[in-house]
């Protein structure tokens, strides 16, 4: 059984915006993945052939769907893999930590992971998509797409609770913006 690389959870780490995601770079990434992932059946460097060719078989498994029997509904977010970020998808967390000269990128990433899980816990059945986190000056804005499973006053209670609990946690004002949809917005069936 070939070792599939580390599968990530729904969170996506924001990539460095300064780097161009060219084809060559993508292929080199593939090579690195392969080299690090201890293949048992397909060695890259075969003993017979010294011509080093990057193996252009994408075996990335991260956050992608394969077309199967066409009965599972998937959203737009889930259908597009991580290579479509900044092409067909936006990022899940928007901050300036990765720009040249800015710091605290790591802390902000850790906060993002925590916030995604926290929101998943507070709105148990309701979340349709991963939350989008925006950092604007001192403020943290969490935009979430929720299903209409709870009556409206319960949503307001949870919003008040979240905002007041997270603000002293991070010592910055945290705003929650909800948008309700009747059900998960299906893009296609896979």
């Amino acid at each position: 059984m070939p070792y599939r690389g580390p599968t990530s959870s729904k969170t996506q780490v924001p990539l460095d915006t300064a780097r161009r995601y060219s084809e060559q770079w993508r292929l080199w990434n593939v090579v690195l993945d392969e080299a690090l992932s201890l293949p048992q059946t397909r060695p890259i460097f075969s003993s017979h052939n010294w011509s080093f060719k990057p193996v252009a078989q994408p075996s990335n498994q991260v956050a992608r769907f394969r077309v199967d029997k066409e009965d599972k509904p998937v959203t737009y977010e889930e259908v597009h893999g991580p290579h479509y970020i900044a092409h067909r998808k936006g990022r899940l967390s928007l901050h300036t930590g990765n720009l040249y000269g800015e710091d605290h990128a790591a802390e902000q990433t850790v906060e993002d992971v925590f916030l995604q899980k926290f929101m998943l816990g507070t709105f148990p059945v309701c979340l349709a998509d991963p939350r989008i986190l925006k950092r604007r000056a001192h403020q943290l804005e969490v935009s979430a797409l929720v299903l209409r499973q709870l009556p409206a006053h319960k949503f307001h209670l949870l919003v008040g609770y979240n905002e007041t609990l997270l603000s002293p946690c991070y010592k910055r004002p945290v705003c929650l913006h909800l948008q309700t949809v009747p059900s998960k917005v299906v893009y296609k069936y896979t």
């Binding site: 209409r148 409206a152 006053h153 319960k154 949503f155 307001h156 209670l157 949870l158 919003v159 008040g160 609770y161 979240n162 905002e163 007041t164 609990l165 603000s167 002293p168 946690c169 991070y170 010592k171 910055r172 929650l176 913006h177 909800l178 948008q179 309700t180």
Partner: protein
């Protein structure tokens, strides 16, 4: 080299000066626009030159701006968005409230979520200690509610008082007394303050916004101080028990100064023990101490609260108190006058003259009246009015004085002014005055005085009803779009007023839109409103497009009736509505549904009207079907209506019917004519 350079520099400077002065000397008139100097305060007078027309440059003082000045400037460029919900709600159609009940419950839910979060934070403060905010944000740090000092000492007592723990501080005080330590006067006084403020009960964790809304009459009748409702007490707050902790501690204190007496008096008055307060005041005088102005305010309230005396006696007592106040050289403040006016308000007609005297006195001492002052005066003059007597014109004087003024909050009752002013306007039916009041509301920061939800709703309902009554329809519709629903949710009476205004102005085509809006604001099942709408639509014949729109609206209303029936066991579909809906269907050409409506008449046991049957006959004639005509006659005879004969004759005359049908008709008419004479009187009574 350097010399040359300096020479060049000097020449340059001279040239510069010369050019500047030439320019200065030339256009003397427009000197302010051409200032070229950047640094110097005044031009140094050059000796030998006599240049006229040079003014002194005065650099203005540096302006200091508020921290939020930019935001304020930006905010002043935008007006209120009439299509948006208040910002406290999430901006989503599912989460925006559609009625005032819902909006209140959402805000309460949000607040209770916040309270839950604060409870968690304050229970586990050690997880929230890490302070990464630069500069420090105090409101995001956890608060400490548990006393830290554990031993029995005066410092521990002071800490418990600061944390507002009533029972704990009383216990600590007792322990200190038993241990024999002397407690200083200030600490005892602050303990008395705590006890008297909270009336010997713990400060309740219910916040005041959770109390049930009192109606206006209750508000006028009841005291408006302590609003925390406990189980043991009635609706109106904590009452002062005799021999409670405060009195016990007061008796135990070795030395009492005027502060102690004053606190006790104010506590007693706050918690409704006015007689004891007056007794304590006499004790204070016996000890030759002086009371302060707050105590006098409380005593004035106490005299007004005492039940047994007549109004003149009460007023004389108040005047006595004021004389004593002057004798003790205590200056009255705004609260004094407001308290007097509040007490006079309860005296109704008797209090009018003293109120005006008080007001003039206040002006004479040069105390600025607050909105609460004017509120009490308006209440006095306009509250129990009946229109037969002439109404006073004092509100015009008040509004003339207040126009353009900006207020700051000085009295807890300031937010009742606009409500009472608008009530008086609507009583007087004066639209100009209402616009004046509304203009005052929109001046500066006065919008903050509109008060809590129910008061705001009352104000705007009255205002909008007055606008509907007195203003032209276009302006009314503009106000409608502006105010509803972003400012207040209309009650059904408001919508009925609007419909009547539309009726008067002959703009009935807006009615389907109003019905759609009423459904959104939660009036779907309000029968009176629906009848009014149907009546207005069905009264006259209109153009065909309008009839179609009306028929759609009627179908919608019909479906709401049906869903209402489905939920309740006893169907309550009024006869008038059935009539109107059927008429509207007929006129729009939806004859199938109209005939179904006739069936519904029998089902709900209601009698169709005469005009309705005539219209059905007309439509049957138009579609040229004698069968339908006979149906109608049968229906009429089933209800034993007197119009049956007229209908029969009409059928015979207008339609081509064969012999059997004629016989059947004849039978019907004979049946009805027999029972007609007997049941004629009954039917007339029933109609």
């Amino acid at each position: 080299m350097a010399a040359v350079a300096t020479g060049r520099w000097l020449r340059f400077r001279c040239k510069l000066c010369l050019t500047l002065t030439c320019q200065r000397a030339g256009p003397c008139g427009q000197a302010p626009s051409c200032r070229f100097y950047s640094g110097s305060a005044t031009i140094p007078k050059v000796e030998g030159t006599n240049i006229t027309g040079i003014e002194e440059v005065v650099i203005p003082k540096k302006k200091t701006w508020d921290k939020v000045a930019v935001l304020q400037a930006l905010a002043s460029t935008v007006n209120r968005d009439a299509t948006a919900a208040p910002y406290a709600f999430q901006d989503d159609p599912f989460l925006i409230p559609t009625s005032s009940v819902e909006s209140r419950s959402f805000l309460l839910a949000k607040k209770s979520g916040e309270n839950a979060a604060k409870f968690i934070i304050n229970s586990h403060p050690k997880y929230f200690q890490k302070d990464i905010a630069e500069p420090h944000i105090p409101c995001l740090m956890p608060e400490y509610f548990e006393p830290q000092i554990e031993d029995i000492s005066e410092a521990a007592l002071r800490e418990r008082i600061k944390l507002k723990k009533v029972k704990a501080s009383v216990d600590m005080f007792d322990q200190l007394l038993q241990a024999g330590t002397a407690i200083s006067l200030e600490t005892s006084n602050s303990l008395l303050d705590l006890l008297c403020y909270y009336g010997d009960k713990e400060p309740s964790t219910d916040y005041h916004f959770q109390q049930s809304e009192k109606s206006e009459e209750l508000e006028e009748a009841a005291e408006e101080n302590n609003k925390k409702s406990e189980k043991a007490d009635h609706q109106f707050g904590v009452t002062w028990r005799t021999k409670n902790n405060a009195e016990r501690i007061f008796a135990l204190m070795p030395e009492k100064n005027s502060h102690s007496y004053c606190t006790m008096i104010r506590g007693m008055v706050k918690h409704r023990a006015p007689a004891r307060a007056l007794n304590l005041y006499t004790e204070l005088l016996n000890n030759r101490l002086h009371a302060d102005v707050y105590t006098f305010n409380a005593l004035i309230e106490a005299t007004a609260l005492s039940v047994s005396e007549k109004l003149e006696d009460k007023w004389n007592n108040i005047l006595e108190l004021l004389k004593q106040m002057a004798a003790q050289k205590v200056k009255p403040n705004l609260q004094t006058f407001n308290t007097i006016l509040k007490c006079l308000q309860r005296f109704h007609t008797f209090g009018r003259l003293p109120a005006l005297q008080t007001f003039r006195e206040m002006k004479a001492i040069r105390i600025e009246p607050s909105l609460a002052t004017y509120h009490y005066i308006i209440q006095l003059f306009y509250h129990h009015e009946n229109p037969s007597k002439g109404s006073s014109l004092i509100i015009y004087d008040i509004m003339n004085e207040l126009t353009g003024q900006k207020f700051s909050p000085k009295d807890p009752d300031d937010d009742m002014f606009f409500q009472s002013a608008m009530k008086a306007c609507s009583f007087l039916r004066d639209l100009e005055l209402a616009y004046q009041v509304h203009g005052l509301l929109n001046t500066g920061d006065n919008w903050k005085f509109i008060g809590p939800d129910h008061r705001r709703n009352f104000y705007y309902s009255k205002f909008f009803s007055l606008v509907c009554l007195m203003e032209q329809i276009d302006v009314t519709l503009k106000w409608y779009k502006d105010l509803i629903p972003s400012v207040f949710f209309p009650r059904s009476q408001t919508l009925i007023d609007l419909l009547q205004a539309l009726d008067v102005a002959n703009r009935l085509e807006v009615i389907p839109q109003i019905w759609k809006d009423s459904k959104e604001y939660g009036h779907t099942f309000h029968n009176v409103l629906k009848e009014e709408i149907l009546m207005l639509m069905a009264r006259d014949k209109h153009s065909p497009e309008l009839q179609v729109a009306f028929a759609d609206c009627a179908a919608d209303i019909k479906s709401t009736y049906e869903s209402q029936d489905g939920r309740q066991t006893a169907p309550e579909w009024p006869a008038n509505s059935l009539n109107y809906v059927a008429v509207l269907f007929l006129r729009a050409g939806r004859t199938q549904e109209a005939w179904k409506m006739l069936g519904l008449f029998k089902k709900h046991n209601k009698i169709p009207g005469n005009e309705l049957l005539n219209e059905f006959m007309d439509s049957a004639k138009a579609s040229n079907s004698p069968a339908q005509a006979i149906e109608i006659v049968k229906l009429a005879s089933a209800f034993s209506l007197p119009i049956c004969e007229g209908l029969t004759q009409r059928v015979m005359a207008d339609f081509a019917i064969n012999q059997e049908q004629k016989e059947a008709l004849g039978n019907l008419t004979s049946l009805t004519s027999d029972s007609d004479t007997d049941s004629d009187s009954d039917i007339n009574e029933g109609k």
